[in-house]
Symmetry: C2
Subunit: 584 residues, 2 copies
């Protein structure tokens, strides 16, 4: 059948094995054409073509429910569930997101982008189904890489006790984004090597029935396995061994590089547009690799995203045991960092803003209450970062700056970042979090101080009067730009780089009262619970007026950067307009 004839999974359920194989071939080719032109998750989807087809062939979706973990592997699923046009027609490529999305289709159950959640969510659906006396299959599809996350374990542990239909498909391609880390993976290897018969089966130890499919890219074998478990009356794991990147040689060979890719040429496997600008991943990597050479006590942690912090296979090899990838397990990264610091060694954990929220309790209890000088460097904590709703970088200021003990710093340039991180790794008084700025890497024009131990000491970079503009991190340049625009209006504004997000400089704020009427705060995050509100509260009983800029408390999906800045009035022109209104 032609792909364009697929309107729903029902359309493929009459096919024979030969036709299913052809379907898999066509889906893979079409997927590859789109992802090469558009960019996206390459390897995870290539590896899962046959399993996705087999799932929809065997199960009565959408009555039967499939919950995808992370859901970056749902491209083929989308092609089978009424969204083929978004893959065949370049004009409609952007009609679908890169993750499962209920607003697109009833076949998509959750908007998800973080790992390790599918088993828990599916377990909840199964429980709700049973409470309501309904009958259908509930399937969680989870990758081996996601199993390192604590939530996946909790989901498996609880799911095993449901006592009714519950099917966990473990898509084992022997990879996370990079290679897997954790003792669990030696156990999974033993299962693969023994065709599922090894002693000490992790899933059986948790109480699951268990089926192994050695060739997870053989659609017939998958159909047979799924038919066996369809309608089961108890929890069962179907462990399928797939080949990440299957069917496109470059992705089969270099699984890490081809996990996700910007647009590329399928013939040469080269990116269409080389990115040549400076970035904080490389800056962080170069700085920390160099530091390791001089300090054997120093180490870098990642939770399954080494590339984000600049560490490719070559750099990881150089770093050796001073580089620790704990797998996708942010709680472990933070708690382990506390233990490392307690022992007298010095850890820095490099993490994506949206993922650090998975470790709030550890940041608070394991680190802050214990006063361990753990350093956390946050990447993509910016409205100029990732714009998928599941990866927003807007919430880290309310999250971390309000935990007692944490010093949260907002560098505005490469030089400030390096100085702050070096200081943070030398001092032992506080845990320190450094929120990297968004946008192109900027440089300091003058020397940057090396000692940041006088906490909450803001820097006044231009002394003016009437209006003071405090521009934190990403938005310090906007503060400068706004002050310049104000000059044309005859106002000689003060400009402040606060450096600190976790407290206020009461001395400077008190000083401002003498000849200022209005303080403007600019921060790269939601204003609710953020930095500006601390300033507003501080001035609450004085005559000083305060206007806080940032992002409204909201979730947005695939927003336009310029439009969001505009809606948030985060442009110099709009701020000047507001200032004129406030000053009257």
């Amino acid at each position: 059948m032609e792909l364009k004839e697929i309107h729903s999974p029902a359309d493929i359920r009459g096919l024979d094995m030969k036709e299913l194989n052809k379907l898999c071939h066509d889906l893979r080719e079409t997927f590859l054409t789109k992802v090469a032109a558009h960019g996206g998750h390459v390897g995870p989807n290539l590896g899962l073509v046959e399993a996705t087809v087999a799932l929809h062939y065997v199960f009565d979706t959408p009555k039967d429910k499939i919950v995808y973990d992370v859901s970056h592997q749902t491209y083929i699923h989308k092609m089978l569930t009424g969204r083929i046009d978004a893959f065949l027609n370049p004009e409609h490529y952007d009609d679908v997101t890169g993750y499962s999305e209920p607003s697109e289709s009833e076949y998509d159950l959750f908007t998800i982008g973080h790992t390790s959640t599918a088993v828990s969510l599916a377990g909840g659906i199964a429980k709700g189904r049973d409470l309501q006396g309904e009958k259908y299959n509930v399937i969680a599809l989870v990758g081996d890489g996601s199993l390192s996350g604590g939530e996946a374990f909790e989901g498996l542990d609880e799911g095993a006790t449901l006592g009714s239909n519950f099917i966990v498909v473990v898509n084992d391609n022997n990879m996370s984004i990079a290679e897997n880390h954790g003792g669990l993976y030696s156990g999974l290897k033993a299962l693969r090597d023994s065709n599922g018969t090894a002693e000490n089966n992790y899933f059986k130890s948790l109480g699951y029935d268990y089926i192994y499919v050695g060739n997870g890219n053989d659609v017939a074998a998958l159909v047979e396995a799924f038919k066996k478990v369809k309608g089961t009356n108890h929890p069962v794991v179907v462990h399928i061994h797939t080949d990440k990147g299957h069917g496109w040689r470059p992705a089969e060979i270099d699984k890490e590089t081809w996990h996700f890719s910007a647009p590329f040429d399928t013939k040469t496997a080269k990116l269409l547009h080389e990115d040549s600008g400076e970035d904080y991943s490389e800056i962080f990597m170069e700085e920390t690799l160099e530091r390791m050479k001089n300090d054997p006590k120093f180490c870098v942690l990642t939770a399954g995203t080494p590339a984000v912090i600049g560490y490719g296979p070559e750099q990881r090899k150089k770093a050796g045991r001073q580089f620790i990838d704990v797998g996708i397990a942010e709680q472990e990264a933070v708690a382990m960092a506390s233990g490392i610091a307690k022992s007298g060694a010095r850890p820095v954990f490099g993490v994506v803003s949206s993922f650090v929220q998975r470790a709030y309790d550890q940041l608070s209890q394991d680190v802050a209450i214990n006063g361990q000088p753990v350093v956390v460097t946050i990447f993509y904590g910016s409205l100029l970062g990732m714009n998928d709703v599941t990866h927003l970088g807007w919430f880290d200021i309310p999250l971390i700056s309000n935990i007692p003990g944490w010093v949260m710093l907002a560098p505005t340039t490469k030089e400030e970042f390096l100085s702050m991180q070096r200081w943070a790794l030398t001092q032992t008084s506080n845990p320190v979090c450094i929120k990297l700025p968004g946008g192109p890497v900027r440089h300091s024009e003058k020397d940057v101080k090396s000692d940041w131990s006088e906490l909450n000491k803001f820097e006044m970079t231009e002394k003016g009067n009437t209006v003071a503009i405090i521009g934190a991190g990403t938005f310090y340049p906007l503060a400068v730009e706004t002050a310049e625009a104000l000059k044309k209006e005859g106002v000689d504004a003060t400009v402040i780089n606060p450096h600190y997000l976790s407290g206020v400089d009461s001395e400077m704020l008190d000083d401002l009262k003498r000849d200022h009427k209005l303080v403007i705060t600019l921060e790269d995050g939601v204003t609710d619970g953020g930095f500006g509100e601390k300033i507003a509260r501080y001035y609450g009983t004085s005559d000083m007026k305060v206007k806080c800029y940032g992002i409204k408390k909201q979730f947005l999906n695939r927003y336009d950067y310029g439009k969001l800045l505009d809606e948030s009035r985060l442009t110099a022109y709009q701020i000047v307009e507001d200032i004129k209104t406030i000053l009257g």
Copy 2:
């Protein structure tokens, strides 16, 4: 030897087995005398007497490091490590906390009170030791109940790959606070039943070497096992089967009741002081049990703390499958609740304030982004709640109120609570969090509305002028009291019960501008990132003055309630004083 002669573990290392047994006997008696007079964790410590003695007998503490999970089982440890006087001498009972505490002793490595963290923390110490080329044993002691937490899994998974000395002692008493829940526990039972030889060994599946000790209250067997693993060059699990409550019959029989107790009589096993007041645990339990009868779709979740929400064994039996204890696994509880809601059923998760922070990512992604109408009812979210530094109830407002989508409500009476929770479980527009007030249960004097769907609608309970006092939750009575005190000063203040913590009533706030000069906010939590700051920001560009009351961003341990209220100026007298100063 006499207990009072024990100054450090070195003092017991010369004893023979007979003397060790006598030591265990004496420690248990002394512990029991103190805990009966003082209150504390009974069962966990009774069960661990022999293991604690054996650990300090075999290992060279403090050079060798023991990290205790939760650390509510460290009473015997404290008796052996220089703190015996705090157990022998009633005048010094309060010299030590109920958890491990580095400020008391170098034998205590971390201040911990949440579960499931020890393996991660100990893994970090082992890693730091290796980076620094040092040699000592690192031991994590973790209970079976704690193993249901995701962080414990993450710690085990990573710890297995350390490739050096790492000893995990699993204290398996076949109990959490209540009975265990999760598939893992069928696996542990199989190990106990087979003297450690069962197939599908969870720990071996993660790559650990493994030793089983069937009688974990036999000090000789424990000494032998610990001697075997002392100095090991690889990760090993020592699985010891202990008897929670061992040596005191009432606690052996009713392990749940005697997990923790207020002061009691060791002869009659009766509490010395019966607590007869109304409490929200019972109110919640009665309300939800009744609701279950009428709605089979409705269910209650707990993460291992059923008693907190009023569910003893009898109530759990009545609730049947509509009561779900996921084990100590808050991430699972929240994510599963999202799945349950997605299926069309209606869940409420009752949780302690300090533990809900373990599920921030799930509250945000699994629930809020997906718009599922999950209901979370928060207990002990008050400065009048638990006062151990690891259990503070001060941080839930910044944590939850700043996540888009969550409606956070602050009832001030039993009737408001019931009305809010009933409404929350009927509507499907938002996830709703209800923060129960601290202090004695209060009652509404007039009818409470039943529909809370007009979000952020504050209630003006007294109309005055000049000063408006917004008293949220626990502190609404303080707002009333302050207004009364102000009357004596000739100020006729407005009093507002905001009901909502996650947004502001802009209409009412704008109205106040007409005849008010000052708005006071009172909230039961840290002011940083909290409710009052939203009001301060809202009024930032107006002439309205705002003064926010709450608790300073800080951690405190075993504070005095009255003193903290006083220091925070949370008394009517102090607030009136401040108001007079501000109004001049």
